[in-house]
Structures are given as C-alpha cells and as structure tokens.
Amino acid sequence: MTVREVARDAYREALPALGASLVGGLFAGVVLSGMRAELRAVPGLLVLVPALLATRGNVYGSLGARISTALHQGLVEPRIRAGDERLRAAVAAALANGLLVSSFAAVAVFSILTVLGDTVAPLPVLVATALLSGLLSGVALAGVVVTAVFAGYRRGRDPDTLVGPLVTTTGDLFGMLFLLVAVRLVLFAAGVI
C-alpha cells in the first residue's frame, strides 16, 4: 500500500466516529457554558471537569469492551433479563470504580488547590457533587452501554466497533448533564442546611 492509500483508509474509517463524538462533545460544551453560575458558586468545579469526563470514558468504555469480548467468547448471553451474574458483577464493578475514582479526583483537586492557596469550595461540596454525578451518569451510561451493545450484537453488528463512538458520544453528554444536576442538588442541599 502507498502512503496515500493508507491515509485514505484511515481517514474514511475514523471520520464517522469522530463526527459522532463531535456532536456529543458540542452538546456537553453547551451544558458547560450554561453552568457558569454553578462554576462561580463552586470554585474548583471547573478543575474537576476533565477528570470526571475522562473517568466516564475510561470506566464505561472498559465495561463496553469487556462485555463485547464476552459476547464474542459466548460467556455472556445478549439478554438483560437473564440477570447474568457476570454481567451484574461487571456493572457493579464499573459503578464502584467510577464512584471511587470520582471522589478521589474531588479530594485531589481540593488538596492541590488548597496547597496552591487558590480559592476552593469546601471538600464535602466537591466530593458530594463528584459522587452524585458519578452515580447518576454511571447508572445512565451502564444502561446505555449494555442495551446498545446487546442490541447491536443481536442485529449482527460487531460490538467492538460500537463501544468506542457510543461511549465517547454519550459519556461527555451524560457526564456534563448529570454534573449540572448534581451540583444544583448539592448547592440546594447546602443552602437548606
């Protein structure tokens, strides 16, 4: 193959996935630009955003890859009703890891900003926001990933090629939407207490 042929193949193969994640990323950006009041009210929240978004992608991308490998190997039945124990363990592990890593990110951001002498919201506010958004977006993403991978597999699509674009598109969007919901709930609760 010549350089031109390799480049053309690579370009054609990648463009749809990039286009799909472009749409998810743009809408996530609109949500982020619409939460300026919350970003001002919770100093340090913006610093937390990349870590939270990446965690969604890393955790649920890996869940999707795990399930699609298991489907290929016949370890998991493509049915949610079966209540497969492996499937339940994989989803539970993804949720647990997501929550653990989200709160770790909140503690890291709080500690670093405190050491740097920057203004930062109280630790409980950051941790509660990270945990709540991790839980809400985790449940939504696990649902989407499992449903879409199973549906794709039953229709004869290779789940491996579905997972990447699906998780990058929905991960950013759900990650930001539920971050907005979480920070509003936490600010409301903090105002009440």
């Binding site: 010549t2 350089v3 990648a14 472009l22 990323g25 298991a70 647990a96 770790f104 990447g164 990058t168």
Partner: protein
C-alpha cells in the same frame, strides 16, 4: 490475561490505572483553572472545552489503535518513510483539518442559539482550527513515541498505548486551547 468477572478482580485490574489517569486529568483541570476567568467571560470558549479535549483524545486513540494493529501484524517499522506510519500521520492531520472547523462553527452556533456570544464566528473557528492542527501534530508525536517505547519494552501496545495516549491528548487539548486563546484574544 482474562480477568475473573468479580467486582474485586475487575477493581484490582482497573483501579490503579484509573487513579493514575485521574491525576493526569486533574493536571489538565489545573490548566483550565488558570484561564477560568477568560472561560467564564466568553461562554463560547467554555463550550469549546469538552469537544476539543474529546476530539484530541479521539484523534490520538484512533491513531494508537491503528498503529497497534499494524504493529501486531508486523507491518509497522519506526521509519519516517514507512507507509503505515506516514499514511496514518497524514490521515490524522487531514481529520483534524476537516473536524476542527466544524468544532468552531458548532460551538459558536450552539452558544448563539442557547445564550449570548461575544466572540466573532471567525475568531472561534480560527481558535478551533489552529488548536486542532497543533493537536494533530502533537497527537502523532505522542502516539508514535509511546508506541515505540511500548515496543522497546516489549509491552502489548493495546494495553498501554491507548489509555496513555488518550489521556495525554486530553491534557494537551486543554494546554493547546489555553495557548491558542492567549494568541487570539
């Protein structure tokens, strides 16, 4: 290589990597924090953040996946004249040139639709496109270097390269966006 499907086995396999990657991402968050005032002043710039990070990470991970496959198939050599290396590098640049103008137009258009914009569409597209081209060059450099290191240390590029490259490109996305905004504003 197959992990047992229990919560504790999956967690043992994943958690150390996840925690390390999180610290890298907190680094990119700290860069965002450095220009928080500008981002809050110009909502369009804030709208560019997730999509720039995401697209940069995707460019890197797609290139990494392709190089890893060529590497496993034995068709890749680390020579600038190698057609797989050069072709994939050219494709990454071409993808950036096609996607990032849309990133700029989309971010400006959606912010105009849902709120108020202060920046001219041309400025936003210029910021997006220059960031995109710089990111494509960096993504190629990072991916090729990391794949080469994985190869030298006999690590499976599939395990190592993709997460390292994706998260490094995420950070570079924020750094490059920050630098570009300082040039244009």
């Amino acid at each position: 290589m197959a992990t047992d499907w229990t919560v504790s086995a999956i967690t043992r396999a994943m958690l150390p990597v996840l925690l390390a990657l999180t610290l890298v991402e907190v680094g990119s968050g700290l860069v965002l924090g450095q220009f928080e005032a500008q981002l809050l002043q110009y909502p369009t710039l804030l709208a560019l953040v997730p999509v720039t990070i995401g697209t940069a990470g995707n460019l890197g991970s797609i290139l990494a996946a392709r190089l890893s496959t060529s590497f496993h198939l034995g068709t890749l050599s680390f020579d600038p004249a190698d057609e797989h290396l050069a072709g994939n590098a050219v494709a990454t640049l071409a993808l950036a040139l096609s996607i990032f103008p849309l990133v700029g137009i989309g971010a400006w258009g959606l912010t105009a639709l849902f709120g108020s914009v202060q920046l001219a569409p041309g400025t936003v597209v210029a910021i997006a496109l220059s960031s995109g081209v710089a990111l494509a060059v960096l993504a190629v450099a990072v991916t090729v270097s990391v794949t080469y290191v994985a190869y030298r240390f006999s690590l499976d590029p599939d395990d190592v390269v993709i997460p390292v490259v994706t998260n490094t490109c995420d950070v570079l996305g924020v750094v490059v966006l920050f630098a570009t905004v300082q040039v244009f504003l």
